[in-house]
Structure formats: structure tokens, C-alpha cells
């Protein structure tokens, strides 16, 4: 269909080489059974482009029976002007680990969405869910019956465990030290109740990356961050080192000179590594994967606390457990998760993230609650000032 709104500002954004989201919104009018939704979305957006403000309200009781997560209420603040978006709720589908799909599965999702929603999606949302943008309260139970009966459950939202997410991992990456997709799936299945029924003080996120490249931004964006790593010596294949050199790679300037701990050297034909000094940053391994492989004992570092700036500034996750084996069914990791979350749930104020709570309460109560010893790997340096607490247990 062609729309009822004139959108000269938005039409500008259909020009140029990068794919246009405006073209996408227009397109949804052709497939959705409710073309007025995408059309009024365009109309309201054009108004925003002129007035430089948004016209959305959110929240309230909106969801499917029994759940408190996965559907986010969204309403236009101008429902008379844009009735098609009077209700424009978000429906978050929990994505499969690693964002892998078959065309059959995706088409099935699309067919249902065109019938009961705007036809607009986000592939994917910031947390990882497959996000369906824009439906009505009336259609929610139908959508849930259609999707859940075909195996697609809702994701997290609100004060709940948020949908865990991971990098592509061992499905297609030689650097993945742990099976990120299996860990992600196992954790998601384990915490189904906590994901769908928001009973926590605030959100809590878990992301799993297979190596220090951290492609899922776990250290930046997850309260509980898992980074695959190893113990033991980097495995060197000197024949392959020579092949890299012969093929024209400047091993000294591309690899050796970038080693942050200066633990490597290259004598023109072979590489030597002082593994006792290696901090496992991955630079050398990513530059010459055929010649250098991580050590054989694989596991993960567990870091805790990262979040975006609201309220008292951004945090990156802090190392809590330097090394943990990560083997199916991941009992040790899940027990640690449960202990960390229980401490946070018992102690946090509303809307307080776990990193903020650790700042308020101190690292010691947290480590004691989860049964982890203090270790130098947890800090860049020890404290500078001579002010420190003693607890009765220190005198025992």
C-alpha cells in the first residue's frame, strides 16, 4: 500500500548505499495484516523528525498470562493522530544460541508476525532477543500460543534474568575455548522461572564469549561475564611459523612487538614464548592461528558487574573467578551463578545492579558469600590507602 502520511524528512533516508530502515518500515505495510501499524509508525516518526522529540509511552500491565517478562508495553502518546500505533508493544522471542536459523524457521516466525503484528522486527535486540516491534494487547495471547506451540518462548525483560547471549563459539570459531552456545542454552533453560517472572531487584544479564576477543561484549554489557581462556603453554607449530614468515608476514612487527608482556621472541625462523609471563591476551594467536594455538587446559574467567552509565557511571566487569572448568552440564558455573544472584537478590535495593551493590557493600562480603578466595588476579593493584577493615574471622 502507499501511505496516508507525507514523509519528506524520512524519504531523505531512503537515499544512499546503506540499507534503509525507512524502506523497511514502508515495506511492512505490504505484508502485515495490519498495514496501518507501520504506516502510522512512519507518520509519527516523521513528526518526531520535525519536532525533535519522541511520542512513546511505556510500561504498565502488559504481557501473557503467568509471565511478567518478554512483552514490553508501548503506546503512542498521540493515539488519536496515529491510531495504528495506539498499541505498539514489543514481543521479545528468546533467540537460539549463536543466532543460527534455518530459512524455514524464520519464515514461520514472519508468517505469524504478519498475521498478528506490524511486520517489523529487530534482528536482534541489544540483549540478544529476536525482537518483534509493534502489536496490540488483544493479540498477545494468540501470538504466545502460536509461537510457544512451535517451540519459541519469550525472552526476558523488567526486573528479571535477561535472555542470556553468546558469541558464535565452537560452531564456527577456532578461538573459542569453551562451548559458548551450549553454556548459553543450558543457563537459559536452567533459569526459565527467573527469566519469565520478574522477581529480582532489577535486571541481571549473562553473556558468554569464547575468548578474549569478547565478540558478545560480555565484559562491557553483562552483569555476569564469561570469557573463555586456557592454562598451560601456547602450542607452537614452528613449521607453520616459518610458512607465515615465508609468505611475507613481518612476525617481529606484526606479532612480537605487540605482545603486552614482552614474553615472545622471534629469531628469524622460530618463535619462543616464556609462557610464565603470558597474560593470554590473544593478539599473537589471532594473527597467526595456524602456528599458535592456546594451551590445552580450557576453561573460563568469570567477571562480574558491568553495566551502562545509569546511575552512578558505567562499569566494566571485574575478575572474580580467574579460572573455572566449563564442562557440560556446567554444574560448578550454575552453582556460582545461583550463589551470586542470591546474594544480590537478598541485599540489593530496587534498581540496583550487582556491580553497584558490590561497590556499596564491598568486595569482601560478596566473595565470602559466594565462597571465592581473594586472589591477585582480581585487582590491578592492591589498595593505596592504609584504611582497611578487619573482621572477627581474621583474628581467629
Amino acid at each position: 500500500m502507499s501511505g496516508k502520511h507525507k514523509t519528506p524528512m524520512l524519504d531523505e533516508l531512503e537515499k544512499g548505499p546503506f540499507p534503509s530502515f525507512i524502506t523497511e518500515i514502508k515495506k511492512a505495510r505490504n505484508s502485515s495484516a495490519m498495514p496501518e501499524m507501520a504506516d502510522d509508525e512512519l507518520g509519527q516518526l516523521e513528526k518526531s523528525y520535525n519536532s525533535k522529540r519522541g511520542y512513546w509511552k511505556h510500561g504498565g500491565i502488559v504481557g501473557v498470562l503467568g509471565y511478567g517478562s518478554g512483552v514490553i508495553g508501548r503506546y503512542s502518546s498521540l493515539p488519536d493522530e496515529y491510531p495504528g500505533v495506539a498499541h505498539f508493544h514489543t514481543y521479545r522471542i528468546n533467540q537460539p544460541s549463536g543466532f543460527f536459523y534455518t530459512s524455514k524457521a524464520l519464515k514461520e516466525i514472519c508468517d505469524i508476525w504478519d498475521k498478528y503484528g506490524s511486520g517489523l522486527t529487530n534482528m536482534h535486540g541489544s540483549t540478544g532477543d529476536l525482537v518483534l516491534l509493534g502489536t496490540t494487547t488483544e493479540n498477545l495471547e494468540t501470538l504466545f500460543a502460536e509461537y510457544s506451540s512451535r517451540g519459541w518462548d519469550l525472552g526476558g525483560s523488567g526486573s528479571a534474568m535477561r535472555t542470556p547471549s553468546c558469541c558464535v563459539g565452537q560452531a564456527r570459531c577456532e578461538w573459542a575455548m569453551i562451548d559458548t552456545m551450549d553454556i548459553c542454552n543450558t543457563v537459559t533453560q536452567h533459569f526459565q522461572d527467573e527469566l519469565h517472572r520478574p522477581a529480582y531487584p532489577y535486571k541481571i544479564k549473562n553473556k558468554i564469549s569464547g575468548c578474549a576477543c569478547d565478540c558478545v561484549a560480555a565484559i562491557a554489557r553483562a552483569d555476569i561475564s564469561v570469557i573463555g581462556t586456557w592454562k598451560g603453554d601456547i602450542q607452537i607449530n614452528q613449521a607453520e611459523v616459518k610458512k607465515y614468515a615465508d609468505s611475507g608476514m613481518d612476525i617481529q612487527s606484526d606479532v612480537i612487538d605487540w605482545c603486552p608482556t614482552e614474553c615472545m621472541s622471534f629469531d628469524g625462523s622460530s618463535i619462543t614464548i616464556d609462557n610464565s609471563q603470558c597474560n593470554r591476551c590473544m593478539h599473537c594467536i589471532t594473527r597467526m592461528t595456524k602456528a599458535l594455538k592456546p594451551g590445552k587446559e580450557r576453561g573460563a574467567s568469570i567477571l562480574v558487574g558491568s553495566k551502562a552509565p545509569i546511575v552512578v557511571g558505567s562499569l566494566l566487569s571485574w575478575v572474580i573467578v580467574p579460572f573455572m572448568k566449563m564442562e557440560s552440564p556446567y554444574e560448578e558455573y550454575i552453582e556460582l551463578l545461583e550463589n551470586m544472584i542470591e546474594w544480590w537478590d537478598d541485599n540489593a535495593k530496587p534498581r540496583e545492579r550487582i556491580g553497584e551493590l558490590i561497590e556499596v557493600k564491598g568486595m569482601r562480603p560478596f566473595l565470602e558469600a559466594i565462597g571465592v578466595d581473594p586472589q591477585p588476579q582480581q585487582v590491578y593493584e592492591p589498595r593505596k590507602d592504609p584504611f582497611f577493615f578487619w573482621s572477627e574471622s581474621d583474628f581467629a
Partner: protein, 81 residues
């Protein structure tokens, strides 16, 4: 205590607190356990049953989730009334 009696008490508590404080599940457990002497698991089961049928529902507002009594208007939209 009968499940239905416990649920009536939960409902009455939510009605009493309406507009005063946004309640999390935990707040409800605490108040009802104190009032009735029932344990947490029992209160939780009772509350979750009410949530499953839409007698009370999870809500979201002010940046956090809570449990509330749904409005008639919303129950009509949901086809529950």
C-alpha cells in the same frame, strides 16, 4: 489455611497497598508470611496461581517490575472479563 483463603488475603493486601507502594513478589511474601504464618513456598504457590489466571499480574513502571491487580479495562482487552 485453605489456598483460596490465602489468595483472598494476598488480594486484600494488594488492594490495601494500591497506589501506596509498588510491590515486588518478595514484599508480598514477607507481608503474607507475617500475617498468616504460612511458609514462603506456600505463599509463592498461592500467588503464582493467581498470576497464572490473571487475578493479579506482573506490571512494569518506574524502571522496575511489580505485582498489581489488573484494571477492568485491561481484563476486557485480554478477554478475561
Amino acid at each position: 489455611m485453605e489456598q483460596s483463603e490465602l489468595q483472598d488475603k494476598i488480594f486484600a493486601y494488594l488492594e490495601k497497598m494500591k497506589g501506596k507502594k509498588k510491590l515486588k513478589e518478595k514484599d508480598i511474601f514477607k507481608a503474607i508470611m507475617a500475617e498468616t504464618g504460612e511458609d514462603k513456598a506456600t505463599v509463592k504457590t498461592a500467588l503464582r496461581e493467581m498470576i497464572n489466571v490473571g487475578r493479579v499480574m506482573y506490571s512494569y513502571g518506574g524502571g522496575a517490575s511489580s505485582v498489581e491487580i489488573p484494571s477492568e479495562e485491561y481484563l476486557k482487552e485480554k478477554g478475561l472479563l
